[in-house]
Symmetry: C3
Subunit: 268 residues, 3 copies
């Protein structure tokens, strides 16, 4: 990966891309605050009557099925198709897709009707999308062998013709052919709800400013991981309450120097 | 403005008015926490079957269209009419009204069926309500000339026979005839989601305790701005995560002395 | 109460029970963060098509009517029946049940169709469930005489054949026959939204790991109260913004020693 990866964050801050989120009811506030801290402009809109308009105004659309129902899935498809028509990139977060049959059915429906630029999920969710079984425990979990992870992510990327950002202890980014591993991040992220969902929205901000979506995804994931490491360092012994706050602060304060010195990205 | 303006906050704390919010899914928690910190009693209720009852119990009703759909708009109209029948003041926050045709249509529908005491919005939203075009970028944005701002706010106030609280770098408060400018606040407010929405709900708490709604709106806006300034001072270099927390603390700790020494209100 | 009560928290952390919450839109994020901090695994799912599946995967189901409507009540009943069939304990939080006729009707409907293991509410809510009138002001409020409180809680427990956790200045835990009082907690809890709702979900995590549900409820309520006391001590003069954060930290850091030294439980 060339050095361009840490030039994207300043572009996000400079361009302040409008990111239209149709997301779950748990993470709305944290997602909006995270995007604001990063320097992007969040908007949430759900009504079928307006999501096509909002998606057109946006520079990225993020679809997250964390607390889906039929109504919101309909809105996602309308928004996603509108984005596709306008060339606005779409990020898809298949939260908990392995946990119920309904989620898998709805995720596949969305992916069959909307062309997505990036799918962001944990290993269990990405495996679920390609029909690999594997219990999803809560919305996180399922660790697999490292080699399997790359193969699973790449298969998903090829099947849906998209970038896959499979996040976990290590993060795998792939377009199905070229693969990267990012080794930033911190376990404290698993103690705050919505950190995966916010990352999906952050990827929306990054793909909004960079046409090379694989570069954008790698950069977004690494930048996010570095912010988490710095926040964890400041959190020390305090706990997840403080980590959540310090992480938002860190997204706001993250510098190119932080990224260049702490980013751990490798091509596989 | 006479000195009464900074006597309203103690009355809010003393009377703990119940404020019924029908608001968007992003800001529910922050709104409830902000009202609690201030000393008011928040309640959220959305079901058509109960909003008339809840509005009757409340001392103010706040309607916020940030993530509207037809169902919630119906509930808003039922709650608003119930409030009108009981003499309970209604605050209206036309979030993002310029961004989609659906929002404008729904906002006008609500305003045609419910008599509102205060409309709180940014310049773009207030302009949108009176048919002035102007792109809304996200839910904030659109800065205009100062003179235009007052004229826009006053026109809106006269058209809907209400108080308008147009907030931005400077805040304009007007009943269409008498205008005030408040110069408190801090840019960090734009880095935390829902600060405008919470202000609308705070205005609900202020109009609940003071029949002169223009005075109540001026007082609420100025008190809120002073709290933001004090919180920003404590935040220093930390970032929006800490600001959010310190702002809630400050709403809780704000004193009459803070208000009298820091409030910057002028009659125009 | 034997010393087992403070052995339950380590079991929660060890077993990380999946707690399925169908809760109100105000407290979703705080509830998920609180459960994560405690060591449990939260999931929120609402769609009628999937709640039976999700309830089956969970080790406790929490139903909270804070922002109910017909759709969500239907989902609660489906989830609750699924839980009943699988022997998964159900916690019920009748938020604001005294404030509108609709809430009372829906609460009774849920209780007539779903067998619940624990009902957690304030005095006004528990009184409301057994037909005692008493204005609910906001979602908190209504203090009664101490003797009446125990009688009210026990009557409710017998009527619905459940454990009742009636929380307030003192907390009453009863199965209708055996009663405990817990005197932990802190008034600052009333300045943060969703602390009652989170407690209901925390009770879900405790009943998930302990078949004696009265013991689990006592332990959960006391552990929660001790965490609040420790957080309030660290908050000092700061305010509810910091308290909220410090409380999450404290749920994460709470030790058996904290519980054994600070827990104030008595059999009545």
């Amino acid at each position: 990966m060339n050095q361009d990866w840490y030039k994207l964050l300043p572009r996000v801050r400079n361009e302040q891309p409008l990111v239209h989120n149709i997301t779950n009811v748990v993470v709305t506030s944290f997602t909006a605050n995270g995007l604001l801290a990063l320097g992007a402009s969040p908007v949430m809109a759900y009504a079928r009557e307006e999501v096509a308009d909002m998606a057109r105004l946006a520079r990225a659309v993020v679809l997250n099925i964390g607390t889906l129902d039929h109504t919101v899935v309909d809105a996602m498809i309308i928004a996603g198709k509108s984005a596709n028509q306008q060339g606005v990139p779409v990020i898809f977060d298949p939260v908990g897709v392995g946990s119920t049959a309904f989620r898998l059915e709805m995720a596949r429906k969305i992916l069959s009707e909307v062309k997505v630029s990036v799918i962001r999920g944990n290993a269990g969710e990405i495996a679920g999308l390609i029909g690999k079984t594997g219990m999803t425990r809560g919305v996180d979990a399922l660790e697999q062998e490292a080699g399997n992870l790359v193969e699973t992510a790449a298969t998903c990327a090829r099947q849906y013709r998209t970038i896959v950002a499979m996040t976990g202890k290590e993060d795998i980014l792939t377009d199905g052919v070229t693969h990267y591993m990012v080794q930033n991040g911190h376990p404290m992220l698993t103690k705050v709800t919505g950190t995966g969902c916010l990352l999906s929205s952050v990827l929306g901000a990054f793909v909004a400013v960079e046409e090379n979506h694989l570069l954008a995804a790698v950069s977004g994931v690494a930048s996010y991981g570095v912010a988490a490491e710095l926040a964890a360092r400041k959190t020390g012994e305090k706990g997840p309450g403080h980590f959540q706050i310090l992480f938002l602060d860190q997204l706001y304060r993250l510098s190119e120097e932080d990224l260049s010195s702490l980013g751990r990205i490798q091509k596989l």
